[in-house]
């Protein structure tokens, strides 16, 4: 039997983030191919009640590590507990999400386990027991297949790429509580406070639909029409760097090479020219729509559908049309 596949389940305030289901599902697919066990680890403060849900997505076993110290995320604390659990299980593969937490934890965990890390993967496959990780490099200008020379294979998975399986409540996992042996001195960087952003909307990286506005929006007040379109579509609002640098939108909204990498089902770019650094952040979107008054704008080369026109006419018309048949 192959070495177990290990997945890190990410929860916040006692609820799983959407990408966790994607990672557990992908872990199950790999474990099935390998004929291996799928072990999930869940860390937090009083989180045992949600552990069973991971079984519905295919985990054979859930290791639950609870501590008051894990009320908030801690890179050092998580690294200690997870590295030990991974070694105890003799896991060959460790998967986590390429989220804010996963991108922080993955490198530390890899260093602790003395191995490499394939961050932000968009595809995984197997060559025997070897994990082949597909990941964009150079802002998506090149796609690399990387593999590990030796050691535990750790990969983080880009949200919104890997399909979650439908939960099956007849499938259950063995739950195993483990003691957390961490001293306060083991943790040097401590989360003091978590502040929710205004509106606490869904994060761009997890959104299915994104409506983005660029310099063509002309000013912050005009984003109301983008917000309305996003609302009708149950999507969220993004922006180009030009809009962010002008102070029209917060940094958290920026899509692109120095912003967020997003892979929604639908990305609507309004008044965005399609500079290479913007495309770097959104070209893995499943469907791209561009609204731009310049028919030569490079965004049209990447868009599945384009409308050449003034966004101040087209965007409200689109909102109205969508409202019609709802």
């Amino acid at each position: 039997m192959s070495k177990p596949v290990f997945v890190i389940a990410e929860q916040r305030d006692g609820a799983f983030r959407k990408p966790t289901y994607e990672v557990v599902s992908e872990g199950r697919r790999l474990a099935d191919k390998l004929g291996a066990q799928l072990i999930a680890i869940l860390l937090g403060d009083s989180v045992e009640s949600i552990a069973a849900e991971l079984g519905h997505y295919g985990a054979d076993k859930v290791v639950v590590a609870q501590s008051g110290l894990f009320n908030n995320y801690s890179a050092e604390g998580y690294t200690q507990v997870i590295s030990k659990a991974v070694q105890d299980a003799g896991a060959g593969i460790v998967l986590l999400t390429a989220s804010a937490l996963g991108k922080d934890l993955g490198p530390r965990l890899a260093a602790k386990l003395d191995t490499g890390l394939a961050n932000d993967c968009i595809g995984l496959s197997l060559d025997g027991e070897k994990l082949i990780c597909r990941r964009p490099m150079f802002a998506g200008k090149v796609i690399a297949d990387v593999e590990f020379e030796d050691g535990i294979q750790i990969a983080s998975l880009r949200p919104n790429i890997f399909a979650p399986t439908a939960p099956d409540t007849s499938k259950t996992a063995a739950i195993e509580n483990v003691a957390v042996a961490i001293e306060a001195t083991d943790v040097k960087a401590l989360v003091k406070e978590v502040v929710a952003s205004a509106g606490a909307k869904m994060d761009l990286t997890e959104a299915d639909i994104i409506v983005s506005g660029g310099r063509g929006m002309k000013g912050p007040e005009n984003y109301a029409i983008i917000e309305e379109l996003a609302t009708v579509l149950s999507g969220v609002v993004g922006a180009s760097r030009a809009a962010v640098d002008a102070g029209w939108r917060p940094h958290a909204d920026q899509v692109g090479q120095t912003g967020k990498t997003v892979s929604p089902k639908l990305y609507i770019a309004c008044g965005i020219s399609g500079a290479i650094q913007h495309l770097a952040g959104m070209s893995s979107s499943k469907c791209i729509v561009a609204i731009n008054k310049d028919k030569e704008a490079p965004i049209f080369e990447k868009a599945d559908y384009g409308i050449v026109g003034d966004l101040f006419d087209v965007v409200p018309a689109l909102t109205a049309e969508l409202k019609k048949n709802m």
């Binding site: 260093a111 490499g116 150079f138 090149v142 020379e149 502040v195 869904m202 990286t205 791209i288 050449v308």
Partner: protein, 250 residues
């Protein structure tokens, strides 16, 4: 206070990336090399901390072949005090190997604060900063958009999905810089002239065996040429129809 900023040299973000004949590496001809944009934020932050605290020394360190000296000089031109080149052959280093080389080089250096960029815009690994922190046993806050250093500790803000975390750590500590942390300055002519003349000592470290290797590189599948649905508001009903029926995106 001693501040070490780890900087990487990367291809210009406008650069066309060509895959070399071996299909495993990048063809370096015609590449214009620059200081990694995220590392500019890290250097700028170091300069601002120095300006506030009055006495601080800023040392920039880079692991790489001879050519990375120009990235070090860019950081010196911005105002860093000293630079160290950890010289290697011109080969692709995976992030853990780079991190080990940096940790090795940092072992006999003094530092209160270690600054990194969030990510190198070449391999987009997002890994070296926290890896070095783990190897050196220091606390690390990644993707920092706001930083204060006071009373021997840092307080750093990092964005997470739907909010932000405020993280504190005693010095020595590490952070990785996210866009939004500051606005990097343009080097003044005087800085550029001084940076040109500054001797850059080299440090040799033994490289560890790599853990990750590139098996193959390829270009992303090109998206099918898009369809212009039409002009102006008249095209809107057709677009909605296509999104519903053809793309099934809504």
């Amino acid at each position: 206070m001693k501040i070490v900023v780890c900087v990487k040299q990367v291809p210009d973000t406008e650069a066309r990336i060509k895959i070399a004949g071996d299909k495993k590496s990048i063809d370096p001809t015609d590449i214009n090399w620059i200081l990694n944009p995220y590392d500019e934020f890290a250097v700028e932050e170091a300069l601002q901390i120095k300006e506030k605290s009055g006495d601080a020394q800023i040392i920039v360190v880079s692991v790489g072949p001879e050519r990375v000296v120009s990235a070090l000089r860019s950081a010196l031109a911005m105002g860093a005090d000293d630079a160290v080149l950890v010289k290697t052959d011109d080969v692709y280093l995976d992030s853990i190997t780079t991190a080990k080389a940096l940790a090795e080089a940092l072992k006999d250096m003094e530092y209160d604060l270690l600054l990194f960029g969030k990510q190198g815009v070449d391999d987009d690994s997002l890994a070296v900063g926290p890896m070095v922190a783990e190897l050196l046993g220091v606390g690390c806050v990644t993707r920092v958009t706001d930083l204060t250093v006071a009373d021997g500790a840092i307080e750093a803000k990092r964005e997470i999905e739907g909010g932000a975390e405020v993280v504190t750590a005693k010095l020595p500590a590490a952070i990785t810089a996210e866009k939004g942390l500051n606005e990097p300055r343009y080097p003044a002519l005087r800085g550029i002239m001084m940076a040109k003349r500054k001797p850059i000592p080299e440090k040799q470290v033994a490289l560890a065996a790599p853990k990750l290797k590139i098996r193959a590189l390829e270009y992303p599948p090109s998206r099918q040429a898009g369809k212009i649905v039409g002009e102006g508001v008249d095209a809107v009903p057709e677009l909605v129809k296509l999104l519903r029926e053809e793309a099934k995106a809504i």
